[in-house]
Amino acid sequence: MATLTLEAIARDFSDGRQMRRVLFPTDLVFTPGELTVLAGPSGSGKTTLLSIMGLVLRPSEGRMRLDGQDVTALPDEAAAALRLSRYGFVFQQPMLIEGLSVLENVRLAFSVQGARTPAGFRKQAEELLASLGLAGTGHMQPRLLSGGMKQRASIARALIKEPSVLLCDEPTSALDAESGQTVLEILKRIALEGERVVVVVSHDARVFPYADRLVKLENGRVVSDTREGSPAVQETVA
């Protein structure tokens, strides 16, 4: 269970000559058990927002809290520790590390800081891989898997630690329709069953039906925020 709260989060980037506001002050609250889709045209600031939520990019303004703890400007090491313990990431590309087997890639999620892998990891990981349709692939090199399988393996890497927050940037854009559907169904299930904050960035309309909540960005601003069953209701932050 986790709640991620954004209060007037904004971000500027320098375009070489001057600072340009890419994300205007944004208030959003993400509650567990929901799959939120963050949609909008290219360049609207989706990735920027997701990166800030994922503690890999600092906002220029505003505050962010995770379960009430201020995580706006954490030092590098503290941010890494939180990412390790609370977060899972799925990127547009699977970004598995070549040379490590699928199972070892999943293991990295635990021990990238050198910690011992917990007892029972192997069984747990194999079950997780099987539940993602990857039974028996643990020993394989990532390059031997199809695009969709790789993406599911990367979801396994994100899920193995049972993260409170799962952030996905265009997880289906590199996949064909069928694999994309499978991945989305998995993500939806994870949000519901695991009581997690799941945020999926996508500008693909085929993703929207899976959303419990749809947040649309345009030119760095939230232009609509709707929940399934209550269309066009603008969310306000408490």
């Binding site: 990735t47 997701l50 990166s51 994922g54 890999v56 990019l57 590098d76 090491e77 890494a80 520790a81 990412r83 390790l84 313990s85 977060y87 990431f89 990127f91 547009q92 970004m95 590390i97 070549e98 040379g99 490590l100 070892e104 293991r107 990295l108 999620a109 635990f110 021990s111 990238v112 800081q113 050198g114 892998t117 890497r157 940037d169």
Partner: protein, 373 residues
């Protein structure tokens, strides 16, 4: 898991691993080979001193090296023998002459004359016949490795050195000097060949009685012979080596080629590890994004460097051992003191780590945010 990751990366990125290994191996092998030639030559320089079995050497005052001592009068021998610490004292006379080869041409040799029956300062290892041969006034020894150069004269055959009749009485093993072909003969024969005044010698070798304190005995010898120099073996060997090392350009040329070998190795390691890490930049960003700290990335890169260095040093030493084995009994100077091996290994390891610094910088610059682009 971080070192496992490093190991997997090293194994997976074959081309760059092979490149970096080449760098490490070339440092160990090239520097090792240079060192073995250098130590081989250093051995040649002091070969007579190292194998004399004497505890002290009396020479003319302050010689620059063992080959540059002036003649000393023979009465020193009796004065030295007068000391109660002295077990024996024997003169040695070194000169040079032209050796007539079987085909009638000449080769310059250094003749070392020793006194019968003790033959102190004489040969220490024989390939054919033995020291009994040198009891004959005309007998000389040649070294096994010098035989081709001297036209392969047969054992027992006669020839001339400096117009004096000699006979090849024995073949030595490993008696090779820095200043030229070493030929052992009786001291009287050498006096004839070198035409030195009678009763004059190159040095006097002294053996001390068992149980005497060497430092005290040497001090007594110095007091007794103030107008001469008294050395112990290692001291004279060191002086001789230092002289040749500095004055023949060996030191400089060895140092230069070693530095170049290390530099080339370091550059190869540095470039290949740099490209390897560039190719892995995305992976390092992933490591950071999923919770790795900068130091975890550093651990992976340093572990990669250590793995490559370890394997490379091993291969390098295996190759070096093979080379030393092949050149061991040959005419190529080669000697690799075992205490030098760990130093060479440590230096190579340090250079490998230094070479990985550029790669480390690149890896540490991997931005976790970049995984989203």
């Amino acid at each position: 898991m971080r070192s496992l990751t490093a190991w997997r990366m090293v194994r997976h990125d074959r081309a760059s691993t092979a490149g970096a290994l080449l760098g490490v191996v070339s440092i160990v092998f090239l520097v090792g080979q240079q060192l073995s030639v250098l130590f081989g030559l250093l051995n040649y320089m002091s070969v007579l001193v190292d194998h004399s079995g004497a505890d002290a050497w009396v020479t003319s005052a302050d010689p620059r090296n063992v080959d540059a001592a002036n003649l000393v009068p023979g009465r020193i021998v009796d004065r030295v023998r007068g000391l109660r610490e002295v077990e024996w004292a024997e003169p040695v006379l070194v000169g040079s002459g032209l050796f007539r080869t079987p085909d009638g041409s000449f080769e310059s040799v250094r003749v070392v004359g020793t006194r019968r029956p003790r033959l102190a300062g004489g040969p220490w290892s024989y390939a054919q016949a033995d020291e009994g041969a040198l009891l004959d006034l005309d007998a000389v020894t040649l070294d096994r490795l010098d035989l081709p150069k001297l036209g392969r004269p047969a054992l027992g055959s006669g020839t001339e050195i400096g117009d004096r009749r000699v006979r090849i009485g024995a073949i030595t093993d490993g008696a090779r000097g820095f200043q030229g072909t070493l030929v052992f003969a009786s001291i009287d024969k050498v006096a004839e060949i070198a035409k030195t005044p009678p009763g004059r010698y190159s040095y006097v070798l002294v053996k001390l009685r068992e149980g005497t304190d060497h430092a005290t005995a040497l001090a007594r010898l110095r007091l007794l012979l103030p107008e001469y120099s008294v050395f112990d073996g290692p001291e004279l060997a060191r002086r001789t080596r230092a002289y040749y090392f500095a004055n023949t350009g060996i030191g400089g040329s060895f140092g230069f080629s070693t530095v170049i070998a290390v530099l080339i190795g370091a550059v190869i390691i540095s470039l290949t590890m740099y490209t390897a890490v560039l190719g892995r930049a995305r992976d390092f960003a992933v490591l950071r994004a999923i919770g790795g700290r900068k130091r975890d990335v550093a651990v992976v890169v340093v572990a990669e460097a250590l793995i490559i260095a370890g394997i490379g040093i091993f291969i390098g030493f295996v190759m070096l051992a093979a080379l030393l084995n092949a050149t061991g009994g040959s005419a190529i100077p080669s000697f690799f003191p075992s205490r030098v091996a760990p130093i060479l290994g440590a230096v190579t390891l340090a250079v490998s780590l230094l070479g990985s610094l550029v790669a480390l910088r690149v890896a540490l610059r991997a931005e976790p945010a970049s995984v989203f682009h």
